[in-house]
């Protein structure tokens, strides 16, 4: 079984988000770029499955849509343990663009299971995984919080409102994964970092693609009113405020 993990490049969580050019572009000065947290957890799960000889995972590939500046992020994924990588050479545009480029690359190769994080921490779209599956004409399972391989068959845990289901779909398929998929992201060890330098990254040129959406500007959230402090000796006052002022209880 061959697993593909799609990864995107996002600003580290602690980045102070600012914009330039009249709030149309992210100010990338000083940003630390990291693998999108959900993608990192998917990659970790894929590697756990590969480590388990009984699971029959032959290889784990990562795919990324990005320019040459993304290479450090791809090398991080290789350092964590992916065997090889695909980079589609284009700046990531909207989700449909990213999914289309990934689909074109996937069609050139052969994967049994494709993992996508439920969303990226920059655009919070929750779109690429589903679009990719549709463009490939294959099944998808979303809200996946667990993947096991039993007798060579992937068995997925899907979260539903108030519970979970154990689900199977025929391969190849896309699993759109979220919290629970792995306990913690795997960390690259020194040896992994050194080996990453020589692992192959196949670069594909981008294919022409329709553009259906465009972000024209950003706005910062309205600053909320400063916190109103209530005396710890008088908690009743908080209840009164919540009832009469905020009207939420």
């Amino acid at each position: 079984m061959k697993i593909l993990v799609c990864i995107s490049n996002v600003p580290d969580t602690t980045t102070k988000i600012k914009f330039l050019e009249g709030n149309t572009k992210l100010d990338t000065a000083g940003i630390q770029w990291v693998i999108n947290p959900w993608d990192e957890l998917s990659l970790t799960r894929a590697l756990e499955l590969k480590d388990d000889a009984s699971a029959g995972v032959k290889g784990v590939t990562v795919a990324h849509v990005g320019g040459p500046a993304s290479e450090p992020t791809i090398r991080k994924a290789l350092a964590i343990g992916a065997d090889d990588a695909i980079r589609i050479n284009a700046e990531a545009d909207d989700a449909y663009f990213v999914a289309s480029q990934l689909a074109a690359a996937v069609k050139k190769e052969n994967f049994d299971m494709i993992l996508c994080g439920i969303e990226s921490s920059d655009f919070n779209g929750s779109l690429v995984g589903g679009m990719l599956a549709e463009l490939l004409g294959i099944p998808s399972v979303s809200a996946v919080s667990g993947i096991k391989i039993e007798n060579g068959v992937p068995v997925l845990t899907r979260e539903i409102d108030g519970g979970r289901e154990t689900v199977t779909v025929p391969a190849p398929f896309v699993a759109i994964v979220q919290k629970g998929i792995a306990k913690e992201p795997r960390i690259a060890a020194m040896r992994g970092i050194m080996m990453a330098r020589t692992k192959p990254i196949r670069v594909y040129e981008a294919e022409p693609c329709d553009k259906f959406t465009e972000i024209v500007s950003f706005e910062k959230p309205v600053a909320r009113a400063a916190c109103k402090f209530i005396d710890a000796e008088n908690p009743k006052q908080l209840i009164e405020l919540l009832q009469n002022e905020a009207k939420v209880i």
Partner: protein, 322 residues
Amino acid sequence: MSVLVFTENWDGRFKKSSFELVSYAVKTAAMLNTTATALSIGKVEESELKKLGNYGAAKIISIENDSLNILDNQAYTSAIAETASKEQSKVIILSNSNTGKALAPRLAARLKAGIGSGVSKLPLSTEPFTVYKRTYSGNAYAHQVIKSDVKILTLAQNSFELAETANNAVIEKGSASVDPSAIKTAVKDVQKQTGKILLTDAEVVVSGGRGMKSPDNWGPIEELASLLGAATACSRPVSDEGWRSHEEHTGQTGKIISPNLYIAVGISGATQHLAGISSSKYIVAINTDKDAPIFEAAQYGIIGDAMKVLPGLISAVKEMKK
């Protein structure tokens, strides 16, 4: 050319989120000089379907098809696409729920429709069609233009007020040309959480962090939650330690919620936790540390020891309920 709104049901019942979605679709339709048609898939009684009309749906299409009894993303996407085509819908609206996230992107790719996901306001304009959505995990909001002929929106949960209207809805039986053999998803078993209020549905949430010091101290949190009809939640370290179930973990890699009221007890307010709660209407923080970042996100705060403050809050709520 009506706006099509896909309203999910749970065992044949709609929830508040379904009615918020219809209210949103009706107002969006009005901006486009048209009406909203609701689409329901599953076994839903007519008396329940009719409720969608209370929020302004002009037509309600109900598809009952045994092949669609479980969520197979491809089959549901086909059914929605087929209905949208028959109705000649130019705008299709779903919730940004687990199901919406599973279906909307497939639908968008199938129909070559631009999609604005997680929108939290009515479209900012119809020409060009511009939506408002959360980005950078709540640190910024984007104005996104959708240029395609057909447009899809998914509505962020708890972001739109219910709007009741006179009920003039017409109910129609719909159909989906789904072949049972085309269903690829097999559900081996289902585990349902019973009794407790679902965290993602709850209007009020009481949450505890490491500042609670021990899982043995959760009694007051549960009592307060019970009195307020609230769900309980926790920060990541608490679920990692095994003090509370992973179901309760709220934060960037846990549940992202938007209740009317979020009470954070003994939670410092790390960025990743705030990413899970920043869309809450009101945040209350109780913490011994006056410099805890949670106080920058909260509208109301008490600097104090949770174990001393909670009993006071509990008796005040009991008083209020008399």
